[in-house]
């Protein structure tokens, strides 16, 4: 990319020009990313889910190669073959899922990359103390990583990056799962490292920390760089705007379909809370109503739905479904008419050893069977055929294993299985994450159709334009609490992004919280 005015005449540590990535299966993740990181500067990297941030980070860390474009590292064009090569050249990547060995000590983890030497090398101890002093963060080198908090583990990763003398440190959402105090430690470390002349690439969903922490920002959307700015010179709203982009036309028509809310109350939750990260929350839902939950990862949105569905054993509070008080049991919830499409398709929804038709009839198997006991394959097949037709699932036959389908089509199976049992409340947790636009539109259209049939719906999404497209009412969550409630007619996605990713006091004053939702 062209030299930024912010760094006149300065040589960038790393510069990327027109980086492209096409996966072997044809998915285009990056369509031309321009990016430059300078020594002593914290560079924020932003973008919605699916914008290409993770792919870009994996290219930076040489987890896989780019399929086009130029990477220049310290003035030389490079193409690293392995993460180790990138590390040795001075690029350290701290991945979101913290790849440490939990059964080894802090010291052993920090020097895990060493290929020779004794396991207990006294020089490591000395080097470790030096690094700790450098960062101003102290931790007992003999503690087991297993015993550390997530925040401390994050710091161990940073220490590890420094131990092999990285010049550029890439941090992928380092604060996503951290508590407030732990975040502060990461922030001060980042500032200190930048002050010592290291380059930092800081990926985050939280706009407020990007604004407070970074020197410059780059925003990705649809695999391209759509914005570069010096942080001090740009407004938060402009960043939000760049992240969101224009509303996709295919979703626009859904905004006109409303007015399906009926009088009868389907779900009434009182003071539901969870130690997993949900503060006491009240929620009432009527038949035919679609409630969208706007919140980022770790905002407590999934904890909320698991507390409602009864799959969180440690949750507390009262859930009344159709006048019936629920115990904490998913099987009771299903019988009472609740349905949940969980967030993680492969881990929580799909039975990999089952074909489409077996996956499809799993929740309401009793209804397909004679006397509720004897399986009737023809009934199950008919259900599966109907599911394939209704949701336009692309497959040769219902005999295909769900694991052989593409992400979007597999996702449709996890939705379709709930359409046959007279569900009164359907909860969709990120139903559109990582799936293509067409599949998204199909699922969202189905949501409005179900609402018209009198089904109450809770839908969670990180892509707020989708929530806006289908919801009657929107709850915004952050840090385990509902922080705002809006009518979907009175709000746009920039506002939602601001609310969900850390609202400034003035915004809060402009849009006072509505009645109906209280957080203790």
């Amino acid at each position: 990319m062209s030299q930024s005015p912010h760094h006149k005449g300065e040589q960038p540590l790393l510069s990327l020009t027109g980086i492209q990535k096409t996966f072997p299966n044809g998915t285009v993740a990056l369509r031309g990313v321009d990016f430059a990181a300078y020594a002593g500067s914290v560079h924020g990297l932003l973008g919605a889910n699916g914008a290409g941030k993770s792919t870009l980070i994996k290219i930076l860390s040489a987890t896989y190669p780019a399929t086009g474009g130029k990477q220049v590292w310290k003035g030389q064009e490079v193409a690293f073959n392995s993460p180790l090569e990138a590390n040795k050249s001075g690029i350290a990547t701290i991945h979101q899922n913290i790849p440490l060995v939990p059964t080894l000590s802090v010291l052993e983890n920090v020097f895990l990359w060493k290929e020779r030497g004794w396991r207990r090398d006294p020089s490591d101890q000395i080097r470790f103390a030096e690094i700790c002093d450098e960062v101003g963060y102290h931790i007992n080198p003999n503690d087991l990583v297993n015993d550390l908090s997530i925040g401390a583990r994050q710091m161990v990763c940073i220490l590890q990056a420094l131990s092999y003398g990285a010049d550029l440190i890439v941090m992928d959402e380092p604060t996503a799962s951290l508590a407030k105090e732990e975040r502060e430690i990461v922030y001060s470390t980042v500032r200190k490292l930048a002050g010592q002349g290291k380059g930092i690439i800081f990926v985050s969903h939280f706009l407020d920390e990007i604004v407070a922490l970074t020197d410059e920002v780059t925003v990705l959307r649809d695999g391209k760089t759509v914005m570069y700015a010096v942080t001090a010179e740009v407004a938060e709203a402009d960043i939000a705007n760049a992240i969101a982009g224009r509303t996709v036309g295919t979703l626009e028509h859904l905004r006109n379909v409303r007015g399906t809310i009926r009088d009868e109350v389907v779900l009434e939750c009182t003071d539901i809370a969870s130690p997993e990260g949900l503060l006491p929350t009240n929620l009432t839902l009527r038949a035919g109503e679609v409630v969208g939950i706007a919140g980022l990862l770790g905002s407590g949105r999934s904890e909320l739905v698991h507390a409602i569905f009864g799959s969180d054993k440690h949750a507390s509070g009262k859930v009344v479904m159709n006048g019936q008080t629920m115990g904490r049991s998913p099987s009771q919830s299903v019988k009472a008419g609740m349905a949940l499409v969980p967030e993680d398709r492969d881990q929580q929804a799909i039975v990999p050893v089952f074909e489409i038709w077996k996956n499809n009839s799993l929740p309401y198997l009793d209804k397909t069977a004679k006397h509720g006991i004897f399986l009737q394959r023809d009934v199950e097949m008919e259900w599966a055929e109907r599911a394939i037709e209704t949701l336009k699932i692309k497959t040769d036959s219902a005999e295909t294993f769900v694991t052989e389908l593409s992400g979007g089509n597999a996702q449709k199976v996890t939705v379709s299985r709930w359409l046959f049992g007279d569900a009164k409340l359907i909860i969709l947790d990120e139903p559109t994450a990582g799936i293509d636009v067409g599949a998204k539109a199909d699922i969202l259209a189905l949501v409005r159709k179900l609402a018209a049939d009198g089904v109450a719906i809770i839908i969670i999404s990180s892509e707020f334009e989708e929530i806006l497209a289908v919801s009657d009412r929107i709850l915004v969550m952050r840090d385990g609490a509902v922080v705002a409630e809006r009518d979907s007619k009175d709000v746009d996605d920039q506002t939602l992004i601001l609310l969900a990713s850390g609202i400034s006091a003035t915004d809060m004053a402009k849009a006072p919280q509505k009645e109906g939702i209280q957080n203790a």
Partner: protein, 383 residues
């Protein structure tokens, strides 16, 4: 789609255990007839193999269910010994019927204990049942005071012998069962042909099994008879197979092992199914133990030591996945037959027991290798 489906069903991974058994039987048949040894294909020899393998097969069927739910049960050998000890000890004073029921309940409770520890405390099933393997064996030693137990009254002994011993003529049984299978599944096959719906591989499989039964009936003649445990095992396997293949319970058992989280979030009571697997396994082991005790009217405290490993080997030979979600009780049955046919082959060929362990071990590892490599190939083909 359908074509590749059939290819899969007849591939090594799915049908390997059948091929292995057939290959072994043919080899033994040819070698014995060429070398002038006692013939392998004699009614006496075949029914002997069936009798010898019946107890392991019985436990293997229940073990398969536990494995399908994604758990593991190492305690079956000890639990069977417990069942034998209780039934032998109590048969004299209480009568065999009451003793057998108490033994079954006691063994079922061991299963409930296994399940409760695994489910409620979240300890790995391997470790829990390794503990009960040792603990229950200790309990057997306490109950028997370390000595062999013998049934105290001749009446009870007679009841036990009547329960376990004697041969049942099976020609009529085989003919009836064979015809029933062929007619029942033949109708299903024809109906499916007519409506053009998919045919489950079990349907032609059942017809082939029915035909095999008829052939056996005519080959063996009127005097063909098997020991009662063989009949028990056959009936038990048929019931478990039917439940697993044709009921909602069976489907949920597979779902529980295939992805417990997904099954739970779909409203399946995963805990109950996993628990039931353990109870079934232990109760079945108890039943096998009762058969064992009845055989001699006596039991010694080290009886059935190591049986759990043969049981698990049979399940693995049958292609049951140790990760849960996949397995077939019929194939476990065939796996048990394969193991005991090997042993039998060593005996009739007079090869000496010293080589037996090496060969058996090799067969188990080779089978596991075929399943694993075959499995990963399929995955690669999918990607």
């Amino acid at each position: 789609m359908l074509k590749s489906d059939w290819k899969r069903h007849f591939g090594l991974r799915e049908a390997g255990v059948y091929y292995a058994l057939i290959l072994l039987m043919i080899t033994l048949g040819v070698v014995t007839s060429l070398s002038g040894r006692p013939p392998y294909f004699s009614p006496v020899n075949i029914t002997n193999i069936l009798y010898q393998s019946s107890m392991i097969a019985l436990m293997g069927v229940a073990m398969t269910v536990v494995l399908i739910t994604g758990n593991f049960d190492l305690s079956v050998g000890s639990v069977a010994a417990l069942g034998a000890a209780i039934s032998v000890a109590l048969a004299g004073p209480m009568g065999f019927g009451a003793a057998a029921i108490i033994a079954l309940v006691a063994c079922g409770m061991v299963g409930a204990l296994n399940g409760a520890i695994v489910q409620l405390l979240g300890i790995n099933a391997f470790i829990v049942t390794l503990g009960t393997l040792t603990g229950i064996r200790g309990l057997v030693l306490i109950l028997t005071n370390g000595r062999s137990l013998i049934v105290s009254t001749p009446e009870a002994k007679a009841q036990m012998v009547a329960f376990e011993g004697g041969r049942v003529p099976i020609q009529m049984l085989l003919i009836v069962a064979g015809i029933l299978l062929i007619v029942w599944f033949g109708v299903r096959l024809l109906r499916a042909r007519r409506t053009g719906t998919h045919v489950d591989v079990g349907v032609p499989g059942a017809i082939v099994a029915g035909a095999a039964m008829l052939l056996t009936a005519f080959w063996g003649g009127a005097e063909l008879g098997v020991a009662k445990p063989v009949i028990y095992t056959a009936i038990y396997t048929a019931i478990v197979w039917g439940v697993l293949s044709y009921t909602t319970i069976g489907r949920r058992v597979y779902a529980t092992g295939g992805n417990p989280i997904a099954a739970r979030l779909s409203g399946v009571n995963v805990g109950v199914y996993k628990m039931a697997g353990f109870v079934l396994s232990s109760a079945t082991a108890g039943f096998a133990g009762i058969l064992f005790g009845s055989r001699l009217g006596a039991v010694n405290p080290t009886a059935l030591q190591g049986a759990e490993l043969t049981v698990i080997a049979a399940a693995i030979l049958g292609g049951t996945s140790l990760f849960g979600g996949a397995g077939s009780v019929i194939k476990t049955l065939v796996g048990a037959l394969l193991l005991f046919t090997l042993t039998n082959g060593f005996n009739i060929l007079n090869l000496g027991a010293n080589y037996q362990g090496v060969i058996e071990g090799t067969v188990v590892v080779a089978a596991a290798a075929i399943y694993t490599v075959g499995g990963s190939r399929r995955k690669k083909a999918m990607a």
